[in-house]
């Protein structure tokens, strides 16, 4: 009998694995289990076009409904996995069902980090991760409403941009001294702060939120010792990898399910891919990535490995964020010790920051600057050295540096 594969998690990594397994010639049965009501869908538009109302729900789904039958993939939705019984090679679902597997892929993703401060459970405090989350937020996301956004990261700022566009009164609370501090360099933080302020967004930096107050629903945010009136609160303070299933089964987890560069866990029958994993990155450091690129590429490598074709995962991570008419594209992972080179003038709303490490291009952050991003990504992949003066010189086209 052909061996069978079970995939826990029906997100970007899970569906990529199904597609790649079939592409790599795997012909056995595949079962994919997801805890949401929907088949795999794209999350990036949730905080952008979908929240804005410019993207209908049907467009979010990664595959047509008939894909699953044609691909021979049984989709079990609204169901989570309760336990992995490794000795029996069986997954127990929360509805009592038991799925035997020959090979198992954990693509459980991540869930939002929740605030624990007083009032955090009041109605009106929203998070954004799923279609259901956005639909809940949509219902109250109306012009004139005051929205307090906790966290000045990608999610918070994308919602701030959509809110400003939709005519909401937007205030962003950020505990750090600059926006997107975990993701971008200070030049970009400052640039984005000015853009948001120009759009009418109020920024409260160095301002941690201490709690929420209200009668039956949230009415005020307490931050930095002051009270701010708010009709809606949106919290975007990061995610936590969904690793409990692996952990309870005795698999190594350290802020993510530990996998090697073939997406394998220490159990020869279990792989993991996407936001839920921690792996050794291309630069040799242990990392956990939260992005579409990692979900896609790691799932592809898992599929290769599951079909006995091992290839080391060493793709350059890339990220993007849409805020207003600004497209931010990042390739590579920056470090605080990198030498920064600015190319172009932020005042033109088109510029890039290159990160040099030992003279080599290690990362690039590009705003409305596709050549800088695309060539920069190539330079990062090749570990190519380019002089800072060359990178900074707009009269030298990026193509000449490739």
């Amino acid at each position: 009998m052909a061996e069978n594969i079970v995939i826990i998690g029906a997100g970007q990594a899970g569906i990529q694995a199904v597609e790649s397994l079939r592409k790599e010639g795997f012909t056995g049965p595949i079962t994919m289990v997801g805890d949401e009501a929907y088949p795999p869908y794209q999350r990036p538009p949730l905080s952008k076009a979908y929240l804005l109302g410019a993207f209908e729900r049907a467009r979010l789904f990664l595959k047509a409904d008939n894909y699953y039958a044609e691909a021979g993939c049984e989709l079990i939705l609204n169901t989570s996995a309760k336990a992995i019984h490794r000795a029996e090679r069986m997954v127990e679902l929360n509805d009592g069902r038991k799925l035997a597997y020959d090979k198992l892929l954990l693509a459980t993703g991540a869930r939002v980090r929740k605030l624990r401060c007083p009032g955090a459970d009041l109605p009106g405090v929203h998070y954004l991760k799923t279609i259901a989350d956005v639909d809940g937020l949509q219902a109250v996301f109306q012009a004139g409403k005051r929205i307090a956004i906790v966290g000045g990261g990608y999610i918070g700022l994308e919602v701030a941009a959509v809110g400003a566009k939709r005519g909401l009164d937007v205030t962003v609370f950020e505990a750090m001294d600059r926006l997107m501090a975990r993701a971008v360099s200070p030049v970009l933080s400052d640039f984005y702060a000015r853009e948001h302020e120009k759009a009418g967004v109020k920024l409260k930096l160095n301002t941690g939120v201490e709690g929420f107050e209200g009668n039956g629903k949230v009415e005020r945010v307490i931050a930095g010792g002051k009270a701010y009136d708010a009709d809606i609160v949106l919290v975007g303070i990061g995610v936590i990898p969904c690793q409990e299933l692996a952990q309870d089964a005795g698999l190594a987890c350290t802020d993510g399910i530990v996998v090697d560069q073939n997406a394998r866990t220490a159990d020869p029958h279990i792989w993991a891919a996407g936001d839920c994993t921690r792996h050794t990155g291309r630069e040799g450091q242990e990392i956990r990535l939260e992005c579409v690129q990692n979900a896609i590429d790691q799932a592809k490598h898992a599929a290769l490995s599951m079909t006995d074709k091992h290839k080391t995962y060493s793709e350059v991570p890339w990220f993007w964020s849409d805020q207003y008419d600004l497209k931010l594209q990042i390739a590579g992972l920056a470090r605080p010790t990198d030498t920064l080179v600015l190319r172009g003038d932020p005042a033109t709303r088109k510029f890039a920051v290159f990160h040099l490490r030992d003279g080599k291009v290690a990362a690039v952050e590009a705003v409305n600057a596709a050549p800088e991003y695309m060539i920069g990504k190539k330079l990062v992949a090749e570990g190519k050295a380019v002089a800072a003066e060359t990178l900074a010189d707009l009269s030298i086209p990026m193509k000449q540096m490739a």
Partner: protein, 107 residues
């Protein structure tokens, strides 16, 4: 309204499907399981993995390339003068019956 679009794989295999007005030509391929378009970023013009070739007679009916599309395309593999990023093209009455040729690979 729905309109017809034909995708031709590099192998010559053709697929004609219907696509709703306003949806992108990239989505038409992805949702109808037509191989040859990866669209890793889902249509954000951030990855250049949805390249298609469009015959000159249809080119005239397409909106011009944005600067972003133009520059992203510069770095896609096997780019030709007839290349476009299909995520940036929306279905409309004018494009009913359009034919798109798919490249061998998007990477």
């Amino acid at each position: 309204m729905k309109y017809k679009v034909t995708y031709i794989e590099d192998s010559g295999k053709a697929h004609t499907v219907e696509l709703a007005e306003g949806w992108s030509l990239m989505e038409g391929a992805v949702k109808h399981l037509i191989p040859g378009i990866d669209a890793d970023c889902g249509g954000a013009c951030a990855c250049a993995t949805c390249q298609v070739y469009i015959a000159p007679e249809w080119q005239a009916k397409l909106p011009p390339k944005s600067e972003m599309e133009e520059t992203m395309l510069d770095f896609a593999p096997d780019v030709k003068p007839t290349s476009r990023l299909s995520c940036q093209l929306r279905m409309e009455a004018e494009l009913d019956g359009i034919v798109l040729n798919l490249p061998k690979s998007q990477h």
